[in-house]
């Protein structure tokens, strides 16, 4: 056990670097995924058929093909067409597109879950579709979206480990290195703990956002999915 601890102490700087890479992938990937999910989620409910169609194709493509293969394409195939990117940026984009595609479904579902009376109330006040979305529907859908985003973010954090496939020395990689000098069970135990702590921090942050958003709508802070606005 002392050997294990000594090895861990020696590995700390490298583990720190690994955590930094994993956090970059997480934050960057989450940001790109958020933007992708909002853009394609909104396109998917657009009244214009071709826009909906584009959204369906893009979302299905990124959901239906493997993240690892998408990563290979971005990192090893795109350079053949003269587009080459730094490995972290490649990871961020691949994670963002893949999880963003799932996020688009969260956005679409949450918007559709806002009570129909809210759309009608807004129309009866002669709001344009844009004003109605921006001022009335989106703020209510946002509350519903946050719990979906919470799950998705935790999955994205776990998904960052694919960075290994393009040679990034992320947390997963450094844990594997640690295994050389320690008991396997010890190294992977540390790995579990560190990933769990990152996921816990992210999840707690999003849950706080969700609580605040629910309070603004006059809903209790619990996570019962009452359809917002139903009784107003």
């Amino acid at each position: 056990m002392t050997d294990n601890l000594e090895a861990l102490r020696d590995a700390l700087p490298r583990l720190g670097e690994g955590v930094a890479i994993t956090l970059q992938l997480t934050l960057g990937g989450a940001l790109v995924a958020f933007i992708v999910s909002v853009v394609f989620g909104l396109l998917s409910i657009s009244p214009a058929g071709p826009l909906r169609w584009v959204s369906t194709v893009v979302v299905e493509f990124f959901r239906g093909t493997s993240l690892v293969v998408q990563l290979f394409w971005l990192y090893y195939v795109m350079p053949l067409f003269g587009v080459s990117m730094d490995a972290v940026l490649t990871g961020v984009i691949a994670l963002g597109l893949n999880y963003g595609a799932y996020g688009a479904e969260i956005v679409r579902g949450s918007i559709n879950a806002v009570d129909k009376g809210q759309w009608e109330g807004a129309t009866a006040l002669n709001m344009s579709p844009l004003t109605r979305m921006r001022r009335i529907i989106w703020p209510q859908a946002w509350v519903l979206m946050l719990s979906g985003y919470n799950n998705l973010l935790v999955m994205l954090i776990k998904g960052t480990a694919v960075a290994l496939f393009i040679g990034l020395q992320d947390l997963g990689y450094q844990i594997d290195e640690l295994r050389v000098d320690t008991a396997t069970i010890f190294a992977y135990g540390i790995g579990l703990l560190l990933y769990y702590l990152i996921a816990l921090a992210a999840s707690t942050g999003l849950r706080a956002l969700e609580k605040r958003a629910r309070r603004r709508l006059g809903l209790s802070a619990g996570s019962v999915h009452a359809s917002a606005g139903a009784a107003l």
Binding site: L125, S128, I136, G229
Partner: protein, 254 residues
Amino acid sequence: MPPVIRFEDVVKRFGDTTVLSDLNFDVAPGERVTLIGPSGSGKTTILRLVMTLEHLTEGYIWIDGKPLTHDRRDGNRVQLKQKEVAETRKQIGMVFQHFNLFPNMSVIDNVTEAPVHVLGRGKEEARERALALLDQVGLKDRADEHPSRLSGGQKQRVAIARALAMDPKILLLDEVTSALDPELVGDVLGVLRDVAESTDISMLIVTHEMQFARDVSHKVMMFDGGQILEQGAPADILSNPSHDRTRKFLDSVL
């Protein structure tokens, strides 16, 4: 003066079900018309067509002589653009059975939201007007609260203030007291009587409150199966209906 609302050969179908077939009627400026009739006779559909919440299958609806969603041009029926529809629709307001207040804002913001973000009025001006309207419906002291803290009757009075804040020429009221506890109905009807007396807003009213209909409306139209069975002054229709069906219907709601 053209009628404020004219239904011309209006047809409304939901899939294969025809709800309204060749419906024609006029509402004069300032006129308050109550629609009565059994459930499913098409009353809500008529109001929703005027509010553009339903697509007009065939025919025309004219507001102040202008086309609402469809126009006749060179003998063809053409659908108007969103912008053109909005230009006419700004004269129309609606109060719903289930209030549809916005839960993401306070009571007063519910009332100022559309004047500021649709009509482009100044925030201060909109706020003053909203406070005056909330005062009129007896809720000025609740202005900064969240709507979820109000009773059903109070919510409905806010919804009335919200509709009035847009200065509509036409107000559509669809069973606005049906979702309320009986003891809260009176306050809401009181506010509406007050609006009827103090403004010349034209109204289409769907209600089962026959005394209210008798007091505020100029005309009552009895609907059955999407057709006007009979119409006339409230005293005539409500006291001396000429059709058996109307009599049966009135017996059932009294």
